[in-house]
Structures are given as C-alpha cells and as structure tokens.
C-alpha cells in the first residue's frame, strides 16, 4: 500500500523526467519493433525474390554426366517418375518444390528446340501458401520460352502442332537468358506420350532450403549426405549463384538486425543509466527519510525498480503499437508478399515486454550501486 503510494507519488511528482524516460523507452521499443517486423518480412520477401529466380538444384543419376543434361543430349538416362515422389516423401531432405522433368531436343520448322515435360511434385509438408514456384502445365496446352515463340512466330492463344497433335499456347514466358528461352513446356504426361516414354523422366529440379543454418557449404554437405541415403544412385548439382544469393540475402537481413538491435539496446541502457543517476541524486532526501524510518536497501531498490518497470511496460505497449503501425504504413507496399502482409505480430508482444523490462533492470543496476553506497546520515545532516 505504502510502496504503491510512493511509486505513484514519484511518478506524479517527477512527471517531466518520467515522461521523458517513458518517451525515450517508447521510441526505442518502437524502433526495436519496427526492425523486428520489417526484418521478418524483408527476409520473407527476399526469400520469395530468390525463389522467383528459379530452382537451384538438379538431381540426375550418378552414372550420367551433368553436361548431357545441360546440353540435352541423347545420352541422358531415363528413370521412373516415382523417384521424385520418393525424394519428396523424405521431408528430412533440405530440398523442396520438386519438379519432375523429361526433356529432349526436337526440330520444329528447321529450328532445334527443347521439348520439356514438367510436373510439380509436392512434399507432404508443403502448403498452398508456400506453393511450388513452377506452376503445372495443363494437358494439351503449351508454355513457350520467348526464343521458341519468336522462331516459331507464335503468341499466346495460338496453336502449335507437335507430332501431329495440337496444343494451345497458353503463355509465352519472359526472357530468361538461359536454355529455358528455347523450351516448349508441356504437361509431363503429354511429353511422355509424345516421346513414347511413359512413366519416365530424366531430371529432377528442386529448391535447396537453408533452414538448417550454418555456412552454405555445410548446408550442401548435409543435403548431399541425406540424398545419398534416400536416393543412393543419384547426384546433386547446385546452381550455386541462386543458392548463394539467397544465403547472402538471409545473412544480410540477420546481421543488419543484430547490429541495429545492439545499438538500440546500448542507447536504451545508457539513457536509463543517466536518468537513474539523476533520479538517485534527486531522491536522496527520500532515501534518507526512509532509512531513518527503518527501510532497508532492498525496499529502496524495489521502489526504483517497480517505477522503472511500470514505465518500461507502458513504453513496451505503446512502442509495440507505434513500431508495428509504422512498419505497416511505411513498408507494407514493398515488403508485403503474395503470401503474407506486413502486420502487427501480437505473438511478439510478451517478448518485447520482457526484453525492455530486462534491459531497464540491467541499466538500473549501476545507479542502484550508487544508491546503496549513499550515506543516509550525510543526506539527513546535509545543510
């Protein structure tokens, strides 16, 4: 009862200092929440950007040269399309977003193009939200690379005849600067029928996920070790530029956050320490009076800490809202992804409160040393 009155009395009496302390902590919590929010969403949008750059893994039989796959030669080895399902069923593999591929060179009107049958294969833990970046091709339709469309003089909505079978061109892809520009993408089953290789594929593409952490090399090693157990006869070839780009994007986001948050925490501590020192000096008479009335130092420290905790919790709530709303208003247009909007992360509120209370407590430690070293006699005898 008395302690509550004293804390409320102090909050009221020194309201200017307390308001400044509250505003400072609020500003810092806002910054923390803003960084935390935008970090989470910038990582997500960066992930999606890298995912949009394409699949970064090729799996082919060990006995085959990767060059045959790159050049799409007749030396490519077929294997059952169930192989992709087997890989996808092993969720311990770091690969995601599998794509079964059957590719072969074919001449169209005097031009060599790559007939490519594709079929996305989903892992059991993949959601619609985190869908495969390659969308399936419907039966009897074709998706053309821009180079293929150009040499054949075709546009979306036209028909293309392949081995006397008509396919509707549903889309002409934008320029990629890779072999994909000269591909004719069909549904995998259509391609298998046209090429007379039912149930067969000759490559698996996938996306190596970095969630295990560590260096990119160690992530590749984990994946290779797992693959050798799941598909012993297969080799993995990484599209290193895409994998590394994604790795760097993740690193940059995390390091940026850690640096900024360290800075924020340091500034918070310094401000609380400075105001704490000032408060201990200004409240010295109160200290002297209370010691004369029989108060122990634990009681006195408790009064300071409770008041700081009240301000810290109020600042945590206010800063959480300000930082969260600022992140929505300022960054939503460019950080929101197709699958996720920048929003208030209520689940982070308890952690934010605990964090600011912890930081305030640590920061109050130094002024509290000064408090317990003060001689109450000198205060009450002060002229």
């Amino acid at each position: 009862m008395l302690a509550r009155k004293m804390i409320v009395g102090q909050l009221r009496h020194e309201w200017v200092i307390n308001l400044l302390l509250f505003l400072t902590m609020t500003a810092l919590v806002s910054l923390y929440v803003f960084i935390q929010n935008t970090h989470q969403f910038s990582v997500r949008s960066m992930q999606l950007i890298m995912k949009g750059m394409g699949l970064n893994q090729l799996m082919i039989p060990k006995s085959q040269s990767a060059l045959d796959s790159y050049l799409c030669t007749d030396n490519q080895l077929d294997f059952p399309e169930e192989t992709t399902q087997i890989a996808a069923s092993h969720t311990e593999l770091l690969s995601k977003y599998y794509l079964s591929v059957l590719q072969e060179r074919m001449e169209f009107a005097g031009h060599v193009l790559l007939l490519t049958g594709i079929e996305p294969v989903y892992r059991p833990d993949e959601t619609e939200e985190k869908g495969n970046p390659v969308k399936p091709v419907q039966r009897e339709t074709a998706r053309l690379g821009c180079g293929a469309a150009k040499v054949l003089g075709l546009l979306a909505g036209d028909k293309i005849k392949i081995a006397s079978q008509d396919f509707s061109v549903v889309k002409v892809l934008s320029e990629q600067g890779t072999l994909d520009d000269y591909r004719i993408f069909l549904n995998l089953s259509d391609a298998q029928e046209l090429l007379g290789r039912p149930g067969k594929i000759n490559a698996i593409l996938s996306f190596e996920c970095l969630h295990v952490g560590g260096s990119l090399e160690s992530i590749h090693k984990v994946q290779r070790d797992m693959l050798s157990r799941v598909l012993p006869g297969f080799q993995q070839i990484n599209v290193e530029s895409i994998a590394r780009g994604r790795y760097y994007a993740r690193q940059m986001n995390e390091k940026y956050q850690y640096c900024l948050l360290s800075l924020v925490a340091t500034i918070t501590v310094l401000i609380v320490v400075m105001t704490g020192f000032q408060e201990v000096a200004e409240r010295r008479y109160e200290t002297g009076i209370l010691v004369a009335q029989g108060a122990g130092y634990l009681y006195l420290i408790g009064l300071y800490l409770f008041k700081t905790w009240i301000l810290a919790l109020l600042a945590a709530g206010t800063g959480f809202l300000i930082g969260g709303l600022a992140s929505i208003l300022l960054t939503n247009p460019f950080l929101a992804t197709q699958t996720r909007e920048v929003t208030l992360l209520w689940e982070n509120l308890p952690r934010t409160m605990a964090m600011i209370v912890f930081v305030a407590t640590i920061a109050e430690f130094i002024p509290m040393i000064r408090l317990v070293r003060m001689d109450p006699c000198l205060i009450v005898m002060e002229e």
């Binding site: 009395g9 009221r12 009076i289 209370l290 004369a292 108060a295 122990g296 009450v380 005898m381």
Partner: protein, 220 residues
C-alpha cells in the same frame, strides 16, 4: 536508556582525519529531556545519528536497553529504527509528493500498524494540523512543516525521540508547541535527546551536555 560508551567517529576528508566525536561517554535516561549543545561542527548531529542506529561508530559502542546497537544485523537495526526511534530533522525532510496525512502516516505504514487513521488524526490534532491534512508540504509555512515532522516522529509512539535542531528558524509560537510536545514525550517516560543552539530549549532540559570538537566539555 541509551548509553554512549567511549564512542568515537572519524571521517577521512581529502586525506585528513576528522574526529567528529571523540571518546564520548554519556547516558540518556527515560523520562528525561536531554539536550546536547555546542557550536556548529562540534559533533552533535553525528552523536544523534549514532544513537539512532544510522551511523556506525569508528570505536566504542552505543547501547540501547543494554543491547549494543551496532552488534545487531542490518535488518535488526532497521527494525530498531522502524519500531523504536522517532527522528526530527532540522530540515524537516518531508516527502514532497505526500500530503501531510501521508507524511505523518509513513512510519505507521512502514511498521504495518493498525488504526493508522485514528493515530494520525490524534497526533495531527495535538499539533494543530487537523485542517492541513490534505495539503502538500510546499503549501505549508515553515512552522507547520516542522510540526508535521514532529507528528511523523511521534505518531508511532517511539521509545526514543532524537531531534536535531528542532526549533531552528521557528517563530515563538511554533517553538513553544514543539518544546511542550518534547517535554510531554519525556514526561511519558521516553528517551528524548535534542541537539540544539536554542537557549530556551536548553533552559527546559533536565540534562544538558556541552560538546566541543567532538568531546564532552561539561554535563549538568
């Protein structure tokens, strides 16, 4: 009874040793109004602080009811101050953000007493503060502030009252009120010790001791 037995208190200031109290022997008896007087810096306040359990003597001991005060643990010494000692400071030292009522009630709250309101109203009535209970210290005159400090010291009915210049800067009427109050407390069998320059206060004392440079010059 408070027994000061060869108490010495020294401070180190700028490398120099200052003897605030030197080998001081003295007794303050229950029922007596004792006064310690002397020039500023003679060690009166330091002696009061030592008797109140606020300042450990460098040498010697302070006994209260036969118990060496500084042989007690910190928490028991805190309890001694909370339960047995009422301090009156020259600068009043009222909490500025508490009302008169709350300032007077402070020692009772710390002691977790019952009937706080009754006791506060009673002492406020005695010290003519009943119509000032919801005022803040900044809204009071100097005399009223000193009476609030007096009420705060006496409200818990302590065995020992230690007053440091309790009548300094007070007008005649307020000085009378304080003096009568201290005399009444002493008459009730409590130990009352005041450090003062006030000749009127000295004139009323049962026991007067003059301090010079930390030592006792004479005691009557």
């Amino acid at each position: 009874m408070i027994k000061v037995d060869h108490a010495t208190k020294t401070f180190l200031k700028s490398g120099k040793t200052i003897h605030a109290v030197k080998d001081f022997c003295w007794r303050a008896l229950p029922g007596a109004f004792s006064v310690v007087y002397g020039k500023s810096g003679s060690g009166k306040s330091t002696l009061l602080m030592m008797m109140g359990g606020m300042m450990t003597p460098t040498r010697g001991c302070i006994e209260v009811h036969g118990q060496d005060l500084y042989a007690l643990t910190h928490s028991r010494r805190n309890a001694f101050r909370r339960d047995c000692v009422g301090f009156i400071f020259q600068k009043f030292l009222l909490l500025p953000y508490f009302t008169v009522y709350e300032n007077i009630a402070l020692p009772l709250s710390m002691k977790r007493c019952d009937l706080i309101e009754k006791k506060v109203l009673e002492i406020a009535g005695k010290l003519d503060l009943s119509d000032r209970l919801d005022h803040y210290p900044s809204e009071l005159s100097i005399g009223q502030q000193q009476r609030v400090a007096m009420a705060r010291a006496l409200v818990k009915d302590p065995d020992i009252v230690l007053a440091d210049e309790p009548t300094g800067n007070l007008d005649h009427d307020n000085r009378d009120i304080i003096l009568q109050c201290l005399m009444a407390v002493a008459a009730a069998g409590k130990v009352v010790v005041a450090a003062t320059h006030d000749k009127e206060l000295m004139g009323k004392a049962h026991h007067k001791t003059r301090m010079v440079e930390g030592g006792m010059e004479n005691s009557i």
